[in-house]
């Protein structure tokens, strides 16, 4: 970071110019073309961007691998695919967060690029208010996510069985509705026990 040098690199000539300026002779300004006080913290962006891209590649690999297995007729029996898919379950979530970090951190030190610096765009809300609401956000999210994940895991724990009734095709359905089998009480949701 201090040395302002790239120690390990793979170079693809002309591609960066083509993507960013849509021409082969375009000039892409480098980090060192900007004064130090106008640069984003590059280690964060460096890793968040690469994690996002790597996860995207792995998702593509998962898709291609499953296609290949299907072609070979082993889609439903391949243990490696099942383990791989399980590991990849949170990949979309992590990749999305990394992408978000890349855009938000990469835009620093500006809120509106070139016009309004982040330090200048702070609202007149007292720091105490911001800090306390941030703490509440964390607490609320922990409660919501913990409960949601426990409901999902309970749903996952129930194995599918043959002859299961699907949703009624003729009755109106909510988008957010889950199968009654997911929880023991959902089936009695409307006729719950009298207290």
């Amino acid at each position: 970071m201090e040395h302002e040098t790239t120690r390990y690199k793979v170079e693809v000539p002309l591609l960066g110019s083509l993507i960013l300026t849509h021409s082969l002779e375009g000039k892409v300004p480098g980090l060192k073309d900007y004064p130090k006080d106008q640069r984003a913290p590059s280690p964060v962006v460096f890793f968040s961007f690469r994690i996002m891209v790597a996860l995207g590649m792995l998702m593509a690999v998962l898709g291609v691998y499953s296609l290949w297995l299907r072609w070979r007729g082993r889609l439903c029996s391949d243990v490696l695919l099942q383990r791989f898919a399980l590991l990849m379950a949170p990949a979309g979530f992590i990749a999305m967060l990394c992408g978000w970090v890349t855009t938000e951190v990469g835009r620093q030190p500006y809120t509106v690029y070139g016009l309004l610096r982040t330090a200048e765009s702070a609202s007149p809300v007292a720091a105490g208010s911001i800090a306390s609401t941030l703490v509440v956000f964390v607490i609320v999210y922990f409660i919501v996510f913990a409960s949601g994940i426990s409901i999902l895991l309970r749903g996952f724990a129930q194995e599918p069985h043959a002859g299961e009734a699907g949703p009624d095709a003729h009755a109106p359905q909510r988008a957010a509705s889950m199968q009654a089998a997911v929880s023991g009480t959902a089936a009695t949701g409307i006729t719950g026990k009298e207290s």
Partner: protein
């Protein structure tokens, strides 16, 4: 100011649209917050499920209108956005947390595998609904009391909203929403639950009339402009029917509840009271968007931005209104303990 120019009428068009969005929000979300407030008062667990069932298919689309109001404020009246939100940061955030809690509680309660856990989420649903309703009233009351602004920036304190008038408005809105919830259930349910809600509707109607009277007398006393907006000639000709209409609706409500035949009239009477109160509020604070000093024109974005956003609104508002109407149409009709579950 040029009375024919876009810079004059675009802010008026947008002020009307924003007021309309807020009112639609009150119409659509008021009863489901009120239903949440009544939730713990109903001890019968089967009836609680019926209550939830009446709003399950429709409640989560309602907050669209709150987002529309916020986005309109941000894009169309940026100076109002930049002063109202810092002034109301804590009440808005408390409302947000309450809405998150009640929304999650609503979805999770039916997926709990023990009665005890379901009871915990029932408390979350009721508490979240109550706090959200109170905070919406507090937000309104704080805005009407006036926000300290200098050079287009908020200069007041974090707790300016902790004052008698905003807190009273919080109580008033909570009572009003509870009435909407009770009358909604009179409309949409049957038998014992409907009878209970009819009794609640009577009590809450009395309470709401008291609240309307108190806020109506208190508001003009807050600011001299508010007083003039109600008493200046010839304006008085247009505004005098508002309190009269409140009393007419009260008669209709009493007859509907006494008779015990009509299902939907009490709900629409309660909505009528909200409409009249909301109009009264508009009459009071016009032409200010951030009382006591910022008019809708001072708060406005350039006409080019307002015109650009108007095109989007002209396409989207009819679209949202039609799918909302369709959803209510699909899930119409009374709900009882044998109805289809939509969870």
């Amino acid at each position: 100011m040029d009375l024919t120019g876009a810079a004059y009428w675009l802010p008026i068009v947008w002020a009307v649209l924003a007021a309309m969005a807020i009112f639609i929000y009150i119409v659509l979300d008021g009863f489901d917050l009120g239903l949440g407030i009544l939730f713990l008062a109903e001890r019968n667990k089967t009836y609680r499920n019926v209550m939830v069932q009446t709003i399950a298919p429709v409640w989560d689309g309602n907050e669209t209108w709150m987002i529309f109001g916020g986005a309109a404020l941000y894009g169309v009246f940026p100076n109002a956005y930049a002063t109202i939100l810092p002034a109301l940061y804590l009440p808005v955030l408390i409302m947000l947390f309450a809405l998150i809690m009640r929304g999650v509680a609503f979805e999770f309660r039916s997926r709990m595998h023990t009665e005890a856990m379901r009871d915990v989420w029932d408390i979350g649903f009721c508490g979240g609904s109550l706090v959200a309703a109170i905070m919406q009233g507090v937000i309104l009351g704080t805005l009407v009391s006036g926000i300290a602004v200098e050079n287009n920036a908020f200069v007041g304190g974090s707790f300016d909203w902790l004052a008698p008038f905003p807190l009273f408005c919080g109580l008033a809105v909570a009572v009003g929403y509870t009435l909407l919830g009770a009358t909604w259930l009179v409309w949409r349910t049957e038998s014992t639950l409907q009878d209970t809600m009819r009794r609640w509707s009577g009590l809450l109607s009395l309470a709401m009339l008291g609240m309307i009277a108190a806020v109506s007398l208190w508001t003009p006393a807050l600011h001299v402009t508010y007083m003039q907006n109600w008493t200046d000639w010839p304006r008085i000709l247009f505004v005098a029917p508002v309190p009269v209409a409140v009393l007419v609706l009260a008669l209709v409500m009493v007859r509907a509840l006494r008779g015990g035949v009509s299902r939907r009239i009490p709900f629409f009477c309660a909505l009528g009271w909200f409409f009249l109160s909301f109009s009264g509020l508009g009459i009071s604070i016009w032409p200010y968007i951030v009382p006591p000093g910022m008019t809708i024109w001072q708060a406005s974005a350039p006409p080019s931005s307002q015109a650009f956003l108007l095109v989007g609104a002209a396409v989207l508002i009819p679209l949202i209104l039609s799918y909302t109407a369709f959803a209510y149409h699909v899930f119409r009709g009374p709900v009882n303990e044998h109805s289809e579950s939509y969870h």
